[in-house]
């Protein structure tokens, strides 16, 4: 039996909620007036499923909510819904995300602006629910925009940004927001819920234009093209990704104007970097314990700071290079692994080193693998990261060409 649909809340004032990252995302789904969302349970993403279902059951949200028979169908459903002009939301975690991989790949190829969350989770086996970024990062080469959130507030803000940027005709690419399992998806924080009016100002209705799959607009999507057309199609995606950086800057400026949040740069969140000689670099919630460490280290007189990356794709190379070149050493903390990669480093480590390669003045880059499977980054670990980075900055250690595993038992 269908639930009774109560009238939508009429009051439109900014409110505060104590909400998990997942609940904050559900609020964003409501505010964005999403048409279709597809769901299939897997921790930690399923927090969004539950939060959205609750909003629907309470009559606060009107969205076509489709529970699929698996992640592959789940992502196919929103891909097709998007092609017929629906604003969509979807998400998964860990190996569930991988089960949807075919649909994930074609969604980017088709330039359909699906917005997803990837509730970051270790890839089973062994069974582990905690956060690891390899699920999101597996799609890094496919044309998905990949932002990472630090807080529940940022999760909601990034979701609103995601529809705005992804659906922009210059971009028209899918977005997958990285949310650290447990620390963000399942931890409640104070979240400011913006007014519907402000969101409507920020987020125009979704319009696919002449790409809309509709009987009145007969088109064929994704014919067999072989080598005759394929490179041109990839080039189009490359160009769209190049444009995304500027579109994110535009959206970020508007967002800041309307909601007063988002910091100076859409791509980098700098913490105590003004006079820093050594900085940590990473993404997601690992910034939180590292900031605690920085405050402690500052009291001891160390010039140390943090640069948190907010968008992994597009990789804002110029800005990142310009920023990191100011420091003597950068300790890149990867909550991921890339077995057999250069210097056996993490994904972020090698991206950063690659970006810095052509710089005349560049910092020493030290790699750290930490917090895998959701292992907490405790202060002794942060201390070790600092000491190794500091040593590299002083030239004491050939630490730059290596990568250290932190907090792992021998």
């Amino acid at each position: 039996m269908a639930v009774e649909v109560k009238p939508r809340e009429s009051s439109d004032v900014e409110t505060e909620q104590l909400a998990t990252g997942c609940e904050a995302i559900a609020e964003a789904i409501r505010l964005a007036d999403v048409d279709v969302m597809a769901a299939y349970p897997i921790r930690p993403y399923d927090g969004v499923m539950q939060a959205a279902a609750k909003l629907i059951a309470n009559g606060k949200m009107d969205v076509e909510y489709i529970v699929a028979d698996g992640e592959h169908s789940q992502f196919e459903i929103v891909k097709h819904a998007c092609a017929v002009g629906s604003r969509v939301f979807v998400g998964s975690s860990g190996v569930g995300w991988f089960y949807a991989f075919e649909a994930i790949a074609v969604t980017a190829g088709l330039r359909l602006p699906v917005v997803a969350i990837c509730g970051n989770r270790a890839l089973d086996d062994p069974g582990a629910f905690g956060t690891e970024h390899n699920d999101s990062l597996a799609v890094r080469d496919l044309g998905w925009l990949l932002p990472w959130a630090e807080t529940a507030q940022e999760a909601m803000d990034l979701a609103l940004m995601a529809w705005r940027v992804g659906e922009d005709k210059r971009v028209s690419l899918p977005v997958a927001i990285g949310l650290d399992g447990a620390f963000l998806t399942h931890s409640q924080q104070i979240v400011k819920i913006p007014t519907q009016a402000a969101v409507n100002t920020f987020l125009p209705p979704f319009d696919l234009g002449d790409r809309l799959l509709h009987p009145d607009n007969p088109i064929t999507i994704a014919p067999q093209v072989d080598q005759d057309w394929l490179m041109e199609i990839r080039m189009q995606n490359d160009q769209a990704m190049r444009k995304a950086e500027g579109v994110i800057r535009e959206a970020h400026a508007d967002f800041k104007k309307l909601f007063g949040r988002g910091g100076d740069s859409p791509f980098l969140d700098e913490y105590m970097t003004d006079d820093a000689e050594v900085v940590f670099f990473g993404q997601g919630t690992l910034a939180l314990p590292m900031k605690v460490a920085i405050r402690r280290l500052r009291k001891e007189g160390h010039k140390v700071g943090l640069v948190r990356l907010k968008w992994f794709r597009p990789f804002a190379t110029d800005e990142i290079v310009k920023c990191l070149s100011r420091f003597k050493a950068v300790g890149v903390i990867d909550r991921d692994y890339s077995f057999g990669s250069p210097y056996y480093g993490g994904v972020l480590y090698n991206e950063v080193r690659s970006a810095l390669y052509s710089q005349p003045k560049r910092p020493v880059v030290v790699g750290f693998i930490a917090g895998l499977g959701g292992r907490e980054i405790e202060q002794p670990m942060a201390q070790e990261i600092f000491e190794k980075t500091k040593a590299a900055a002083s030239g004491d250690l050939k630490a730059g060409d290596t990568c250290h595993w932190i907090g792992v038992r021998s």
């Binding site: 330039r111 007969p218 999507i221 014919p223 072989d226 189009q236």
Partner: protein, 379 residues
């Protein structure tokens, strides 16, 4: 061919599925025969032709080189840009090769180098074949290998020795690369059959060569060439315009798949709709009087209409090489009834008047499944 040539490239143009095994056997045998005198080589099918579709023109290739270094320049390719010899194993292929959308319709000699060879298996004379071949832009030699089109099959290959005759013909025109004795030795090894070896000799002895000058051939075939779009001109999102209702695909016309075409006797048509209903390609258009006329640009010549037609000799399948154009014929019948019927009789070999009980005689190159060719060295 000079002594300095370091490789030879040969293509086999064939009817998809029906002749795939045949083409493969020819290409492999070319390399294996050349191997007998110390050459090396490669044989491959054009990747984009797969999955092959019934009758749609496809290509396979053999490259023979004097050594591995020379061979490398012909490897890691889908198809060679230039070939020394093009072998068409069905003479209706000389009307042009249209393999897939955007490929266009290409003259059979298109990749053949100046003074190269076009070998065609046919029961017709060189001049008859040339009359249906696109106007040559550069001189080449046309060779007719005796025998009708072999539809020996894909899964079960009913060998009619077309492959051996073709290899014999090749040994005649390119002895530097493929020697008759090597071909014969190879066939003997493979088949232990002297009849098969004799077929190679037959192809060698009986292939008719005819020099073709630039300008010879027909200009009657449709030009079908397309420019491929660039990334700035393509629609984003892997989107192409769909065909409107009733509109036929201008980028892929399919008639190049045809070896026989249906010809309709409008006098005896009872307007039963069967052809129109059962045509898998929706080729039939309803005329103002309720007849059904074939749109030849869309017809692949599958013959289903002729099979389902309940009236004897109302739809007759006729050798495609007897026709110059793809024009619709109902207008012809409407304007010149007797003229059309004469035309119908001359093409189909059956009477247009149902009261005349003229027994229908099988046409040349008739439905190969029902009437397999016996021409060639195995006589």
């Amino acid at each position: 061919m000079s002594e300095t040539e370091t490789s030879i490239t040969i293509e086999v143009v064939y009817r998809g599925i029906f002749q795939k095994t045949l083409a493969q056997r020819i290409c492999r045998s070319i390399v294996l025969a050349a191997r007998k005198r110390g050459h090396t080589g490669t044989a491959f099918a054009r990747y984009g032709d797969s999955p092959e579709r019934n009758g749609v023109p496809a290509k396979q290739f053999a490259v023979v080189a004097s050594n591995d270094i020379e061979l490398e320049s012909s490897m890691a390719k889908y198809e060679p840009a230039v070939v020394d010899v093009s072998i068409a194993v069905d003479d209706t292929l000389v009307k042009g090769v249209e393999s897939w959308a955007w490929y266009g319709r290409q003259p059979i000699w298109k990749p053949v180098r100046k003074d190269g060879f076009v070998l065609v298996t046919s029961e017709k004379t060189p001049d008859e074949v040339l009359a249906q071949t696109d106007t040559a832009l550069r001189p080449y030699t046309l060779g007719i290998v005796p025998g009708g089109a072999s539809f020996a099959g894909l899964w079960v290959f009913k060998d009619d020795h077309t492959d051996y005759r073709v290899l014999g013909a090749l040994a005649k025109i390119e002895p530097q690369w493929v020697r008759l004795e090597d071909v014969k030795a190879l066939i003997k090894e493979q088949t232990k059959d002297d009849g098969a070896v004799a077929s190679a000799q037959y192809g060698y002895d009986n292939t008719k060569l005819r020099a073709v000058e630039a300008g010879e051939g027909t200009s009657g075939h449709e030009k079908l060439q397309f420019d491929k779009p660039g990334w700035t001109t393509m629609r984003p999102g892997i989107i192409v315009d769909a065909r409107k209702p009733g509109e036929r695909n201008p980028f892929y016309k399919k008639y190049g798949a045809r070896t026989m075409r249906p010809v309709v006797n409008f006098d005896t048509c009872i307007k039963c709709t069967m052809c129109w209903l059962d045509c898998p390609d929706e080729c039939f258009e309803v005329t103002p009087e309720g007849h059904y006329e074939v749109v030849y640009e869309a017809c692949i010549g599958c013959g289903i209409c002729a099979q389902v037609c309940p009236v004897k000799d109302c739809i007759v399948m006729v050798d495609e090489l007897k026709f110059e154009d793809n024009k619709d014929k109902w207008d012809f019948w409407k304007k010149d009834h007797d003229g059309y019927n004469k035309w119908f009789e001359s093409k189909s070999g059956v009477s247009a008047d149902p009261k005349k009980l003229v027994p229908s005689s099988p046409t040349t190159n008739a439905n190969p499944g029902a009437n397999p060719t016996t021409a060639g060295g195995d006589e």
